[in-house]
């Protein structure tokens, strides 16, 4: 396997974790977050500092997960107070705040970022394998949640918080749970990204990246784990395979996003489900 292939597969794995975890917050529980990059970044910086300080892979993973979910819970508390559309704006603000804050902090490397982060010691193939294992575990967790009573309650909260309350479901607790789990996984992805690049700057976690993640969720099909996985893989590979897409990445992703919302709001998963039903009927 070439170094290029290893790096592409590693990035795909990280994007799958990010898109699937965002889908838990926005797809399962209906809380639109356009700042997932901030939680990804918080995890990456926590892991980088831990690696520089201790060199322990386990501690780095732990620090990333805890930092991602703590920031996520803080934003989750905001979600208890605001309507869904304001939450989208709040999370955009959180993403800008995160990048702006990190850029000005000398202890976080400022504009230059953190470089020379100690290697995980697994080598490129070992890192890739670890990333793929965590991606598989994330997919499995997502599938489990959507089948559990938690996923059932998430759907209710996402559709109508007031009606959910009349069935004894505390919308607030579930929204916090969605943010806590989803952002912990984003923190994990940040840690894996740090192992992979050994060099991070704030720009990798900006708002544009968050919008790309949301595009993966929407194009894959909001709420569908497999649809989102396929979209995350496809949209990561697309710019690599087609030169034009790489040059006009924002234009192509933005265009796809608009087309999907206009023509197939259920995303890939919705289109496939419709086709399947049509075939079964005929």
């Amino acid at each position: 396997m070439s170094a290029y292939e290893i790096s592409i597969i590693s990035i795909i794995g990280i994007n799958v974790i990010l898109a699937v975890s965002l889908n838990m917050i926005s797809g399962f529980c209906g809380q639109i977050s356009l700042g997932h990059g901030a939680f990804f970044g918080a995890g990456a910086y926590a892991a980088a500092l831990t690696m520089v300080g201790s060199g322990s892979v386990l501690l780095a993973i732990l620090a990333a997960v805890v930092t991602g979910s703590l920031l996520g819970l803080a934003v989750g508390f905001a979600s208890l107070r605001v309507r869904t559309d304001f939450l989208a704006v709040t999370t955009i603000g959180v993403n800008f705040l995160f990048v702006g804050f990190v850029r000005k902090q000398a202890w976080l490397g400022g504009e230059m970022g953190i470089s020379g982060i100690p290697a995980s010691g697994f080598g490129p193939v070992g890192n890739m394998t670890m990333i793929l294992l965590f991606a598989a575990a994330t997919i499995a967790l997502s599938l489990y949640i959507s089948r559990s009573w938690m996923g059932f309650a998430f759907r209710a909260v996402g559709e109508d918080e007031g009606a959910a309350a009349t069935l004894g479901i505390s919308a607030g607790a579930y929204k916090l749970a969605a943010f806590g789990i989803g952002t912990a996984l984003a923190g994990l992805a940040g840690c894996l990204y740090t192992f992979f690049t050994q060099f991070i700057t704030a720009d990798a976690f900006d708002f544009i990246f968050s919008v790309m993640l949301m595009a993966m969720v929407v194009i894959g099909g909001i709420g569908s784990t497999w649809g989102v996985v396929v979209a995350a893989v496809g949209l990561t590979l697309l710019p690599e395979a087609i030169r034009f897409v790489n040059d006009y990445r924002l234009l192509v992703f933005g265009g796809l996003l608009v087309l999907v919302i206009r023509l197939a709001p259920g995303g890939l998963a919705g289109v496939i489900q419709k086709a399947f039903l049509a075939v079964r009927r005929s």
């Binding site: 559990s148 009573w149 004894g168 505390s170 749970a177």
Partner: protein
Amino acid sequence: MSAALQLDDVAIRFGGVQAVGGVSFAVEEGDFVGLIGPNGAGKTTLIKIIAGLLRPDKGRVQLSGVDVTTDGTASRVRQGLALTHQIVRPFREMTVLDNVTLGAGYRRTSSPFRALMHLDRRRESERAAEIIAQVGLAGTEKKLAGSLPLGQMKRLEVARALAVEPRVILLDEPLAGLNHAEASKQVEAIAAVHARGITVVLVEHNLEEVMRICRRLIVLNNGLVIGDGEPREVMADPIVHEAYVGGGMASHAEA
């Protein structure tokens, strides 16, 4: 024994308007109470206070002797209160069966952690199917809730309320917007709820039906209780009559 639902001196003010001004009453276990009053009497505000959607400025709300004044809706539901909305709010994207199953699993969903630990829904689905049949919706289980006609959606609201195994059920205008045939089916469903020993508090504009099915009437006007007792006696009270005539509802009061 403590009352199923008890309000002590409940009051709330919005700006300069005293929407509810010191309301007290107790509803005994198994009773069937109609809460009525002309428009603007404070019924909706009082329902929101009982449901936990509004916190009163003063006073106390108790369910079976437990003070729930500061609890939210979900917590009150888990303590035995169920409610239906005046404007139906089914989960439109879920099937009828899922709508009721979710209610039947209220113990499973009492905390996200507990919900995460459980996958099996068979028992809850079976209970849900029974309840759906009881309110006369058998055969609609697999339909999307959003595709039902209004009359069936209103009965689905009752089914969901029953699913949480309530001791007290608060029905907010369950007959509003229904034609005569649908309304009579809904009344049957409500009567069946009461027959199961559940305490019913009914808020309804349709005075004819209220007089027919309630054992006791509580009349609100300007945020205060102006009548309370056996329906015919209450409606014969000149103060109550005056409130309705003054409120422009003479025709209903005569009905």
